[in-house]
Symmetry: D2
Subunit: 337 residues, 4 copies
C-alpha cells in the first residue's frame, strides 16, 4: 500500500465522516496541523482539560452509565460467552525487555498439614503484567513530553503524579468496570484477506463500511473491536506478530473517538498500524486515544471465535484488576450474546 | 462459641437440610466418618471421580450453562455495578512468605520517541498473584496427600500433572467465565454483629435462615457470597484480619455443595472458620469444596457496598485470567443488578 | 547528645585533621558553607569533575592498584577468613517498599531425566537485590537534584545515562574488584557500649582515636569499617534496627574521604547517623561519599566476629556482581588475615 | 569424534591415573559398573555417606583450610586481578524457562528529599539468580531420584530438607568462602583449536597433559578451571552457546575428584560435554561431582583474559552470596596473581 493511496482513502473518509455526523472541520484542522507542525501531532496545541472535567481520572469510562449496562445486558439472548483474552504463558510475543515468568513454588507449595494432610500450590508471577499478553491500557500508560514535562491525560504531569511504587493519579484502579455494548468491525473480512499485512492503515472509510454491514450505529460508551486477522500469528510466528501490524490510522482513530467510544480493542499489540502513516510519528493513535481522549485500549485479543460466530453486537464485560497505581491490567474480556 | 453449641446447631442444620432437599444420610455418614477416622475427613474414602466425569478439569464451572448466563443477564434491572474486588497494593494482608511488589520501571518506562515525543509507563509486578489479595482458587490449588501421593480434584496426581512452570492439568485457564446468578447471604447482619469473631463457625442453619430472609432458593450453578463483616479489618488491622476469621464449617460447606453452587465467595481470606471446628483438621472446607466437589472459592472480597445496597440476588461476572497452569487468579469480580 | 557537643568534637577533629595531613581549610570552608547555605551541602558549589577525571566511572576504586592488592595479600598470615556478609532471607530488615522473595520453583525444579534419573533445583529471587541485605552502593545509587536535573558522580545527568533496564553509565559493573587492605575501627568498643544508640553521630575525633589504638594509618585505597554494635539488632529487633542508627557525621565522612579510602563499611544500613546532625539534611554522607567523592559504601555488614577476633588490619576482598547498569550489588565481603 | 576413540582415550587415562596416584581399582569398578547397570551410574550403589561425614553439608569446601588460604595468598606476586564472572544482562544465554530481568524502579527510585535534594536509584531483579549467567552450583542443586525419593549430597532426601522458601539443608549459605589455589587447564589451547566443538568429551588424558604443561600438581582443595573456548560464543551466538558444549566426560570428572579438588569451573554452562558420551545419561558429571563427591561447579565463566595472561596458577577467590536455602549463587569470581 503506497502512502499516496493512504492519503486518498483518508480524504474519502473525511467525506464519510460528515455523513456520520463527524465534523469535517476538526479532522481537517488536524490534517492541516499535521503538515505545518509535527510537534502539534497528534495531540494538538491544547489537549486538555478533557471533556470530562479538569480533575477527571476516568476518561471515556465516564460514558459507562447504568443505562449502557442495562442495555448491554439486554443484548444477551442466548447466554453464550466468548473469551477474548489470550492464555498468558512464557514465550508469548512481547516487545523489548518486558518479561513474563510463572512458576509453582515448591510443588506443592505447602506441604501436608493437619490430620487431613492438606497440600496446596501457589503460582509466582513476575512480569509487566499490565503490558504483556492481553492487556488493557489505562490512562497512566501513554503521555507526551512537552518542554521537559511528561504530560498525560488531562495534562497531568508525571513529575507530580508519578511514583516508583504506583502512580498517584490515573492508576488503573480508577477505570472501573466495562459492562457495555460491544461491536465487532471485521476489517479483515471486509478486505477478503486471511489477514491484513503489517503496516496496513485502516481508514475511517473501512470502518464505516464495516459498520454499515452490521447495520449498527456506534453510540457513546460502546466499545469497538477491530479484527485484522493479525492475531492468527500469535504463538505461531511470534516474530512476524511483533515486527509490525495492521491497524488504525489517525483518521480512523478519530472516527472512533468522535463516536465517543469508551474503549477500542484489536487482535494486535498496538491497535494501530505499525509502521504507521508517518514513520517519524510513533504510536500516534495511542496518544490520540489515551492521552487526548481518555479512550482505553485492549490489545492482543483473540477475535477469531467472535468473528466466526457471526455476532457483531454483544454484551461486553471487562473488569480491570484494581492494581493500585498501575498503568494497565491483564484480563480476560468477554463477549456475551 | 463453645464446641457444644456448634454441634447442636449442626444437628439442627441436618433437619433443615432435609427440608431443603439435602440427604441426611450423606451428612450423617460424613459426621460419623469424622468420629471414626480422621483421615477420611473431609474427603472421605473415595472422592473421585467427580460427578462431572473422570477426565473433567472444570468442576462446578460445568454448571455455568448458557441458560444460567441468560437468566443472570435478566437480573440486571438498573444497570448498576458493584466491584467486589479489592485494590492490590503492597502492604495488604498476606499469609506466610507470599509477597506483592508493584513498581513503575523507569518512570517513564519509555523515553520520548518519535517526532511526537511519546512516552509510556509500564508496571512490573512480582508476587503470588493468584493467591494474594482478592483471589480465585482454582482446582490446582488444594489437594491431599494420600500414601505419598498428592491428589487433587478428580484424583489427579501432582506427580503427574505438576510442572515447575505451570500445571499441566487443572490450570485456571480451564475454569472459563462465571456469568451467572449471585446470591448474598449476610450472616453478619443475621447475627446483628458488626463483624463475626475469628473462629466463628457458620452453620447450615444460619445459611438457611439468611436464605429464607432473601426468599430465594439456591439453584445449581449459582454463586453464593457469605458476608461475615471480617473484611472491615482489611488495611485497617491487617494482623487481626490474618490471625483468624469467621467462616463456614464443614456442614455449611456441604449445605452449599449439596445445592450445587459453582463458587463460594466471602469477605475473608479462607471462606471457612479459622481456627475451625477441629483444630487438628486444617482448611477442611478447602478440601471439601475444591478437591472433592470442584467448587471454586473467591477470597478477600469487599462485600460491604453490596450488603449496604440491599441487593441479595444479582448478575455475577468473573472472568479469571487465563494464566496457563496457574492455581488461581487475581480479579475484580462484579455484581450487576 | 546535644548539637553543641557535636560541634565541639567537630572542632577538635579539625585539629586532629591537620595532624593527620588533612587540610583545615577545606573542612572549615565546608563548615562555614553549612551555616550559610543549606543547599550547598554536602556537595558544595562544584562537586565535579572528580579527581579521577571528568569521564571516570569508577571513582575511588581507581585507588585499587596492583600494589594495594599485593600488599593486602601479604596481610594474610594465618589463612583465616571471616565472612562480613549477612544471610539473605525473607523478613530481613528493609526500608520502604523494597522486597526480597526466594522460592524454589517446582521442588525439584527439574523432574527426573535420563536413565540416571537426575533431578535439579533452582531458586527464583525477586527483589531490589543491590539494595537489600548486605549491599554495596555503587555510583549510580545516589545523586542530587539541581535545577531539575538529577546529578550523580562526576556530574552525570540521570536524564542522559538513566535507562529503565540498567544505567548506561555508572553501573556497578564498572567498579571492579576490591582486593585491598581493610581496617576495622571499633567505635562501639571505644565508647564501651554494647551498642551505640540511634542518632549517635560519630566524629573524626573518635575515628582518630580508634585508629591510634590500632597503631595503623589509613592509606589511599584502604577500606575502613566502622563498628557501632547496631548490627546486633539484625533479625533480633528489626524495627529498632530500621528506625534509626548510629553512624558517621559529615565531618567523620570527610575525615575518611580525605584519607582517600576506597570504600566505607558498617554494621548499619546507611553508614551514617540517622537521624543526622541536621534533620533537614537527609543522608548527607551518602552524597558526600558517593556523589562527590566516588567512595563506595558497604552496608548491613556483620562485624561482630571480626571485632571479636581482635584483628584490625586484614586483607579485604569483595567482588561485586557485574549486574549491567545496576546501582549496587549484593555480596559476601570477606576479611582474611 | 567416535565413541570408540573416546573409550580408548579413557583407557589411557586409567594408566595415567595410576601415575598420578589415583587408584585404578576405583575407576575400573566404576567403568565396569557402567557396562552392567545403567542405574548405578554415575552415582553407584552407595554414594553416601560422604567422606566428610554423614552430617556434612559443605562437601569439598571442607578442603578449604587456613593453610590453603595462606598458600593461595602467597601466589599473589604482581597484585593483578582478573574477573572471571560475566556481566549479567537481559538476553544472556539461558536454558528452558529461566529468566533474568533488571529494571530501575522510578528513575530515580527516590525523589528529591531533604534540603539537600538527595535522589537515589535501586534496581529490581527477578530471575533464577543462582542459575543464570555466571553461576555457582551448590549441593542442593543436583540429585537423583531413587525409588521415588530425590536424594542429594550425603543422601539427604528432598522430601525432608526441601522447602518452598529455601532448602533447610545444603543451602548455599553453608558453602563458605573459596580463597584457595586455582589452576587453569587450557584444553582448547592443547587441541590447537579456536574452540572445541559441542559434544567434545574431554578426557583424563587431556587434563593430565595440560597439567604436565603447567608443571603443577593438583592438590586437595584446589580449584581447577577448564577452558574450552566455547565461551567465545557468549552474547555472540547464544543459540550455538546453548545448543551443546564441549566439556568433561565422567572419567575426566573422576580424575579431578580423585585429586580432591574443591570446585571445577569452565567457560561453558555445564562443565561437562553436552551431548555426553552416553546420550541416555544426562549431566552425569553434575551427579558425580555435586551429589556424590560434594565438589562444586562454577559455570559460564569468562576464561579468555586469564588464558591470554599466561597465568596457570593463581589465588582464586569466590565468596558465594549467603542466600538462605538457595541451590546456587551468582558471582564474580576472581583470579589474583
Amino acid at each position: 500500500m503506497t502512502s499516496g493511496k493512504v492519503t486518498r482513502i483518508n480524504l474519502r473518509s473525511l467525506v464519510l465522516g460528515t455523513v456520520l455526523g463527524v465534523s469535517i472541520m476538526s479532522v481537517s484542522a488536524w490534517v492541516s496541523g499535521q503538515s505545518k507542525s509535527a510537534d502539534k501531532l497528534p495531540l494538538g496545541d491544547k489537549f486538555y482539560p478533557s471533556e470530562f472535567g479538569a480533575d477527571d481520572q476516568r476518561g471515556a469510562a465516564n460514558r459507562l452509565t447504568p443505562e449502557k449496562t442495562l442495555r448491554a445486558a439486554q443484548l444477551v439472548k442466548q447466554g453464550r460467552t466468548i473469551q477474548l483474552g489470550r492464555v498468558y504463558e512464557q514465550g508469548m510475543p512481547m516487545p523489548g525487555k518486558r518479561h513474563f515468568s510463572l512458576t509453582i513454588p515448591g510443588l506443592p507449595t505447602g506441604s501436608p498439614s493437619g490430620s487431613n494432610n492438606i497440600v496446596h500450590n501457589d503460582e509466582l508471577v513476575s512480569g509487566e503484567i499490565g503490558q504483556v499478553g492481553t492487556q488493557f491500557d489505562g490512562l497512566g500508560h501513554i503521555g507526551v513530553r512537552v518542554n521537559g514535562e511528561d504530560l498525560f491525560y488531562n495534562g497531568n504531569k508525571l513529575s507530580e503524579f508519578g511514583d516508583t511504587y504506583g502512580l498517584k493519579k490515573l492508576g488503573v484502579e480508577n477505570a472501573g468496570v466495562f459492562f457495555t455494548r460491544g461491536i465487532l468491525l471485521d476489517v479483515c473480512a471486509l478486505r477478503g484477506n486471511d489477514q491484513l499485512p503489517a503496516g496496513y492503515v485502516i481508514t475511517p472509510d473501512e470502518l464505516s463500511t464495516c459498520l454499515e454491514m452490521t447495520k449498527l450505529k456506534i453510540e457513546p460508551g460502546d466499545v469497538v473491536f477491530i479484527r485484522t486477522g493479525h492475531g492468527k500469528l500469535w504463538m505461531k510466528d511470534n516474530k512476524a506478530y511483533g515486527d509490525g501490524e495492521p491497524g488504525l490510522g489517525l483518521a480512523a482513530a478519530k472516527f472512533l473517538t468522535d463516536h465517543k467510544v469508551a474503549l477500542i480493542g484489536a487482535d494486535t499489540w498496538a491497535i494501530e498500524a505499525v509502521p504507521g502513516e508517518n514513520k517519524d510519528v510513533l504510536y500516534p493513535v495511542h496518544q490520540w486515544d489515551l492521552t487526548r481522549n481518555g479512550v482505553y485500549h485492549l490489545e492482543n485479543l483473540d477475535l477469531e471465535e467472535l468473528a466466526a460466530s457471526g455476532v457483531r453486537e454483544f454484551c461486553f464485560v471487562f473488569s480491570p484488576l484494581r492494581l493500585k497505581g498501575a498503568t494497565g491490567s491483564p484480563g480476560n474480556p468477554i463477549a456475551v450474546y
